[in-house]
């Protein structure tokens, strides 16, 4: 019964989406205030209906209702509760429902908090947002319905892929979707602006915080996925340039560019045409990511061609929205008034540089991701584009971006003083050079680029601190004055500094792990010891164990450092009951210096085991960096929330239309 209610709610939500797509926009065209006003209740109704539908599916999973085909295919009654819940979005149908739910959530948020938006803009935005929801709602109903029943119902489900039964991965999809579906807001605002043929102050003031929020979630979502891959896949790697990873990374890169160009538009009313284009492109990349992951085209171009229903449907949706958006852009972008002159050396100039580099980098990732698919589609030749490609293309584009990054916040709007900025960064650069020499002296081995990248990371962190020190006039005025200034900074200043600091930390972590990782693949018999990066590991043998829904062979390692006992590590090999599948669980000892990472291999005939040992120096900094970027975004957003809706100073009143 609850399942049928959920199904019915989904159908109703699609009907509401159809209404919401047409009526408010029609009202905006004809100037009918009542029609425009239907947008908000419709957006709320759509969200509530989808939420009911999602809850119904969750209920089916929690109660293990195997009469629902989707539950049977992806769940098992012996699974712990948390994985029964995360199983809802651990499959195609459920995750598409989550996708649309988050889309509707953003629409509902516009309805709730959009009181201060011009009513015509709001009506258009809600209509555009709803058109996306309609397309994906129909997609779910016709090709990926999670509410289909089985008769007779089986006694037991087939279970969730065990490597997905993991806390980090349970929450990875919701964060990821909140991120890349969140960019739909920027898209809807861009399309609404093009429909109206103008953007005003309210536009950028809205788009930037929403883009920022989406970007934060995407940052965290990607970081969670990377962390999961690191400890779960048992290869000690944290990023594989896998097409599925690239699918979420491309919207992140474009979204990062959008975040910065929206800043120029908000503060200086410049780069309007570009920002609108970037908003369309960012969400287009989100749609493309959805297509790549959901259509099965990555698993096999061949499989896609054989069972094309879903793939073609998503491809159609993608072409409709990207093509439609870009066509509208081609016709209407000329009407957006340009404003705000600036010199190449200025805050705006630095943000333009950021945008150019980020979008170019996005294109290189795009080529690396799509080229194998295109080649296979055209010639049938199969190739793989791996990390060497991205190291050759993406990394060289990041270096100038990273070098220029600390300059941006130190340059003034309109016309900046690059020599002054360089002087303020001198201290950071000096520290960076010292670190570079020290790193080089300590680890003469390894690629020469590593100490340089290390230095760049340190320089970015130093640059972020220097900026705060400069603004607080540290050392130039009495300390009490510095402190007063420090606490009176707008929050966005802290946000920027934190986010940039996080990037620097991440660069350090990536460099250290990539260049100075130690790896040993060895055979060990119980009782034997091995030394790696200052740790002494003693292998104590392997014992079988029984988990809630798996059996495992658990290895025991005692870890000593300088003769003192540190910890016991227990990497294991698991075989799950349903589906019967083998996984490796790494035994990890994490510390600030780096992670000691152990993987248990196969038993040998002589009683030994093959063992893989890694030491990944500073690997934590990668995810800590991402977390700091997230926090930076949150701090900046808390500033915005106070100001959105507050009356703008002088100029704002003159520009804002009196609708």
């Amino acid at each position: 019964m609850i399942i049928e209610l959920g199904h019915f709610a989904l159908v109703l939500a699609v009907v509401v989406a159809l209404f919401q797509m047409i009526v408010p926009m029609w009202g905006a065209r004809t100037g009918d205030v009542r029609m425009m006003a239907t947008g908000e209740p419709a957006a709320l109704a759509q969200f509530i209906l989808l939420l009911l539908s999602f809850c119904a599916l969750t209920y089916a999973y929690v109660t293990s209702d195997f009469s629902v085909a989707n539950v049977t295919a992806n769940s098992h009654s012996a699974k712990p509760l948390i994985y029964r819940i995360s199983g809802v979005w651990g499959n195609h149908e459920g995750s598409m429902l989550l996708w649309v739910l988050i889309l509707a959530l953003f629409g509902a948020l516009v309805a709730v908090f959009g009181g201060n938006l011009p009513s015509r803009l709001r009506a258009n935005v809600l209509s555009v947002q709803s058109s996306i929801a309609l397309a994906f709602g129909l997609f779910i109903l016709f090709t990926s319905n999670p509410f289909l029943r089985l008769d007779p119902a089986p006694f037991e489900g087939r279970g969730l892929n065990p490597i997905l039964q993991d806390p980090a991965l349970a929450f990875h999809p919701p964060f990821l979707y909140a991120g890349y579906v969140g960019f739909s807001m920027a898209f809807s605002f861009a399309i609404a602006a093009l429909i109206e043929g103008r953007t005003d102050a309210a536009w950028a003031r809205w788009v930037r915080p929403w883009t920022l929020a989406a970007w934060m979630f995407l940052t965290l979502g990607i970081a969670m996925g990377s962390w999961w891959a690191y400890y779960e896949l048992g290869w000690g790697g944290w990023w594989f340039w896998d097409p599925v990873e690239n699918a979420s990374f491309m919207p992140w890169l474009a979204g990062t560019a959008l975040l910065h160009s929206a800043l120029v538009m908000e503060k200086r009313e410049a780069l309007k045409v570009w920002t609108v284009l970037l908003a369309i492109l960012t969400f287009s990349l989100s749609l493309m990511g959805t297509f790549l992951v959901r259509s099965g085209v990555l698993t096999s171009v061949h499989a896609f061609a054989v069972d094309p229903e879903r793939g073609v449907a998503i491809l159609g949706i993608m072409v409709l929205f990207i093509g439609g958006g870009l066509t509208l852009y081609a016709f209407r972008a000329g009407q957006l008034r340009q404003g705000g002159l600036f010199a190449p050396i200025s805050r705006e100039g630095s943000l333009v540089l950021n945008n150019v580099l980020l979008t170019t980098a996005t294109v290189t990732v795009l080529v690396g991701t799509l080229y194998p698919l295109a080649l296979e589609g055209v010639t049938g030749e199969k190739i793989s584009v791996g990390p060497p490609y991205f190291n050759m293309t993406f990394v060289p584009l990041m270096v100038p971006l990273l070098l220029a990054m600390p300059f941006g916040p130190l340059l003034a709007w309109k016309r900046g003083d690059i020599r002054g900025a360089a002087e303020r960064l001198a201290a950071a650069a000096l520290v960076a050079v010292v670190v570079m020499v020290a790193v080089f002296a300590m680890f003469g081995r390894g690629p020469w680029l590593a100490p340089v990248m290390f230095a760049i990371g340190v320089y970015i962190m130093g640059g972020a601190i220097s900026e705060l020190a400069y603004r607080a006039k540290l050392g130039l005025v009495p300390f009490a004055e510095t402190r007063r200034r420090f606490w009176n900074f707008p929050r966005s200043v802290f946000g920027t500094a934190l986010a940039h600091f996080g990037v620097g930390l991440m660069v350090v972590g990536i460099t250290a792990t990539t260049a100075y990782q130690s790896e040993q693949v060895i055979l060990m018999k119980p009782g034997e010891s091995r030394e790696i990066s200052g740790y002494d590991l003693t292998f104590r043998g392997v014992a079988p164990q029984r988990g809630p829904n798996y059996r495992e062979q658990v290895g025991k390692f005692e870890v000593h450092q300088n003769g003192a006992f540190v910890t016991t590590l227990s990497p294991s090999k698991r075989v799950y009951d349903a589906p019967p599948q083998a996984t490796s669980e790494a035994g990890i000892h994490a510390s600030w210096r780096g992670d000691l990472y152990t993987v248990l291999g196969d038993a040998q005939e002589d009683g030994g085991y093959s063992i893989r040992l890694y030491f990944n120096p500073l690997v934590r900094f990668i995810w800590l960096g991402a977390l700091i970027m997230f926090v930076g975004g949150a701090v900046s957003l808390s500033d915005r929330r106070l100001r959105v809706g507050a009356p703008r100073r002088s100029r704002g009143f003159a520009v804002a239309p009196a609708e």
Binding site: G90, L169, W235, V244, G296, T299, T360, V363, V385, Y389
Partner: protein, 152 residues
Amino acid sequence: MTRKQKRGVLIGGGVALLAVAAILVMFALRDTIVFFQTPSDVAAHKVEAGKRFRLGGLVAEGSVKRGAGTKVQFAVTDTLETVNVTYEGILPDLFREGQGVVTEGKLTDAGLFVADTVLAKHDENYMPPEVADALEKKGVKLGQGATHPGNQ
């Protein structure tokens, strides 16, 4: 600088950067991509010794021999032709005789494939798509599984 000159700087810079990126991409695509071959391709001398490629197929039944340390020898077959492979390291959890496998490495002059990577796959029904396609072309029917959690 006039507005026009500024725009020129911007556009010029942008175009120059795109050109640099295009050159990087072209070189990278020429030098870093790895082709996928089946044992039949190898038997037909489609690949020269010393060139890096991916060899995919099924692990031949009864072919896995463990040597000293973590050295392993096995054979990869597409049911028509077979190539002998050596690998030093830990094999992935799902490496089994009769199952699909993708290895990456180089061919020696003697026709032995020295792999430095044996791809880890997550699902025991999993058949690397390249292998499945290649085998299907040769008339061998196989099921398909997922490769990455995102594909679930």
